[in-house]
């Protein structure tokens, strides 16, 4: 029994130490990656890109489902991006509200003949294809299709795009005006490695001021749960993704803002409609595809916030979102389980995929088991209180330290949330996180895993949104 207890204790201790080591190396790698990114940007100024010829063409694909309240403003915003060669494809995914009619009225859309395309991407039937009779909206195409979900709508847009690159986003996202100019940079600079996916930073714009579809004034969300997510996003995007990008091990490009070469997406068959975490799955599948062909490739992440979205502001919606993310992770890892420690896939099989299994997927399970163990030890009186108190304080402060470093790195490098008041509020949120939203997230993740374990059927779930604060 003693040996068993010691074994369990050492397992949790070792897991914690390894995780701490990983996060510490993330900080170091992220700093190097940000520095490198800044240096590269000096030689590829966006003003030079703006005026250049021969740039790759981009299709911006934005699925919309019942977005009637904001669709016209958002489309106006998406049509005003700074990039010379792009088209905008809005895929109306069987909305039951007046989204389509609003688009028809606002942009003088007329139905144009549509010939079904024979691609290896399947999607729900298209009802109609619309283009504007107004020359000013020549970039816009609206596809009206039967409902099939987000992945299905994106697939439909990709199949009907006519460009070199496709940028997958959401119709309710606020995209920075120069985002495309920045996003194509890795494609312009690629040499011996083909860029198969490029992601940009995503920020939270709850309670910020939106004017004419652009972010006018960035404010911190009033709700604590949304504010803590600001910290969470900064930490995940700036430390995790930048570090993985630096190691050539980035496995995820966010679904809300990801740019892909259309030809490669078509080759792998587009997004998987049966997986709720379709963005992670596509990125992994693209990597597997390139590995199988022994082609050099790169997945790039740009640290600047280029896309703003609305985060869940209530515990209920937050749980729905994280439950879905947990299920998506489960499904994706299960689908690609053959990668685990598979030498054929090099570092992807030996390091990157196992990291996802052990730490992204495994961390909530280990944490949950830790809580169960503490409860059992409490009952049995096994807890050494002075050591337990020290360990708890140590782990808590380490977690807060990583969040604080991420916040400061973000503020210094990108000048967002730059006022002292905002930084203080964010750091405060980082210190509150372990007592508040982290427990809710753990509950949601375990709930998602249990649903998958016991085969409970579940869908995307309803993401109730409050909508952005708009100003005229």
């Amino acid at each position: 029994m003693e040996y068993f207890r010691a074994g369990i204790d050492w397992f949790f201790f070792t897991y914690g130490i390894v995780l701490f080591g990983i996060y510490l190396s993330f900080v170091h790698l992220a700093i190097r990656a940000i520095k490198k990114n800044k240096e590269q940007a000096v030689f590829l100024n966006i003003n030079n890109i703006k005026g250049a010829e021969n740039l790759p063409s981009v299709s911006l694909i934005a699925p919309a489902f019942n977005e009637g309240m904001s669709i016209v403003t958002n489309v106006h915003s998406l049509l005003s991006l700074q990039y010379p060669y792009y088209e905008l494809i809005i895929v109306n995914d069987g909305s039951t509200d007046d989204s389509l009619q609003k688009l028809i009225n606002a942009f003088d859309l007329v139905e144009v003949p549509y010939t079904p395309k024979e691609t290896n991407i399947n999607h729900a039937d298209i009802i109609g294809l619309y283009q504007s009779s107004d020359y000013n909206y020549g970039r816009l195409t609206v596809i009206n299709k039967k409902n099939g979900g987000r992945a299905d709508a994106l697939n439909c847009g990709i199949a009907n795009a006519k460009t070199n690159l496709v940028l997958c986003t959401d119709a309710d996202c606020i995209i920075e005006q120069d985002a495309l100019l920045k996003m194509v940079r890795p494609y312009l600079e690629e040499l011996d490695k083909e860029v198969i996916a490029c992601g940009g930073g995503i920020g939270i714009a709850n309670d910020s001021i939106i004017k004419n579809g652009t972010l006018k004034e960035l404010r911190l969300p009033k709700s604590w749960i949304a504010r803590i997510q600001v910290v969470e996003y900064i930490r995940a995007f700036l430390l995790g993704r930048m570090a993985w990008h630096h190691l050539d091990g980035l496995m995820l490009v966010s679904g809300a803002f990801g740019l892909y070469p259309r030809s490669r997406v078509l080759e792998v068959g587009g997004f998987d409609k049966d997986i709720v975490g379709e963005d992670l799955e596509l990125c992994m599948r693209l990597r597997v595809h390139m590995e199988q062909q022994s082609l050099p490739y790169d997945v790039v992440y740009l640290p600047e916030t280029l896309c703003w979205t609305e985060a869940p502001s209530t515990a209920k919606v937050y749980i729905t979102q994280r439950d879905r993310w947990a299920r998506g992770l489960w499904e994706t890892l299960k689908k690609h389980r053959h990668l685990f420690m598979n030498r054929k896939y090099g570092a992807m099989g030996g390091v990157f995929f196992p990291y996802w299994v052990l730490f992204e997927f495994g961390a909530p399970i280990v944490e949950f088991l830790g809580l169960v163990l503490i409860t059992v030890y409490l009952i049995l009186g096994y807890i050494n209180w002075p050591i337990a108190r020290f360990l708890y304080l140590f782990v808590y402060l380490i977690g807060c330290m990583f969040s604080t470093i991420a916040i400061l790195m973000y503020t210094i490098n990108f000048r967002q949330y730059a006022s002292i008041k905002m930084v203080t509020k964010l750091i405060l949120a980082a210190f509150i996180e372990p007592f508040y939203s982290h427990q809710i997230m753990l509950y949601a993740e375990i709930k998602g895993y249990l649903k998958k374990l016991f085969g409970v059927k579940s869908t995307w779930g309803t993401m109730t949104r409050k909508g952005f604060t708009t100003s005229n």
């Binding site: 000096v42 030689f43 010829e53 003949p113 079904p116 024979e118 006519k162 600079e189 040499l191 030809s263």
Partner: protein, 246 residues
């Protein structure tokens, strides 16, 4: 502006020069002043006597950039090359020439671009011999620099690119054909739409679209499963190429 700076008798001018000299004495200040001079150069068209070059010499930027060319910091070296060619400091030409095959991508790229600025079409024969890839951005910049030089096309240099086995260099050659409207080479672009390298084939097709050569084709034609890896418009082009009348 240059004339104003050339007049050394003005006390105000002397005070400005003193302040600017202090600013360019540190790296960040030097890069900042160079950027501002490039901006002015790209926006304001000045008579020959007023071009920023005198300012460059008065502030000693040419010497500072020359020193930076020997910097151990490769990022600084690449920046010094970039600012040297953007500010047309031809005195640094020889030193920059040493870096055209540098192992550092930024130093190499900027040095090669500098050579395009200083030597124009003549340098293209060097590119024709390259065995390593060059980025699309470098191709775009080379074309921009050749366009802005307003020098007549050197056919042999262009031909050497078009005969290169390096697909990136071949792509650069095709882009130059389009940019300078070299009609006699259009057929060559058309033939490369069949190239085994998909990237090059796609680029060739995009260029034909740019030249409006593929206009008669209906872009809404069906998409072939066998060639799904190619852009829709390219497949469309291949499906209809038999009817093509250039």
């Amino acid at each position: 502006m240059g004339q104003y700076f050339n007049n050394s008798d003005t006390p105000l001018r002397n005070s400005y020069v003193k302040r600017l000299k202090a600013q360019v004495s540190n790296s960040e200040g030097l890069w900042y002043v160079c950027q501002q001079l490039i901006k002015v150069k790209s926006i304001v068209v000045l008579p020959e006597k007023d071009i920023p070059l005198p300012i460059v010499s008065i502030l000693g930027i040419d010497n500072l950039l020359e020193n930076k060319l020997s910097s151990r910091n490769l990022h600084h070296r690449a920046l010094a090359i970039q600012y040297s060619y953007e500010l047309e400091i031809t005195a640094n030409y020889k030193k920059i020439h040493e870096f055209i095959n540098s192992s550092n991508i930024f130093v190499r790229r900027e040095a090669q671009l500098a050579m395009v600025v200083f030597m124009n079409w003549e340098i293209l024969s060097f590119f024709a011999k390259l065995t390593y890839p060059i980025s699309l951005w470098q191709q775009i910049r080379i074309i921009e620099k050749l366009k802005s030089s307003k020098k007549p096309i050197v056919t042999e240099s262009l031909k050497s690119l078009l005969n290169s086995k390096n697909t990136d260099i071949l792509e650069l050659g095709m882009r130059l054909v389009v940019a300078f409207n070299v009609e006699r080479e259009f057929n060559m672009i058309k033939s490369h739409t069949q190239h085994h390298n998909t990237k090059l084939a796609n680029a060739a097709f995009d260029m034909l679209v740019q030249l409006n050569i593929s206009k008669p084709y209906n872009k809404e034609q069906s998409f072939s499963k066998q060639t799904f890896e190619l852009p829709f418009s390219y497949v469309d082009y291949r499906n209809h190429k038999k009817n093509d009348k250039l």
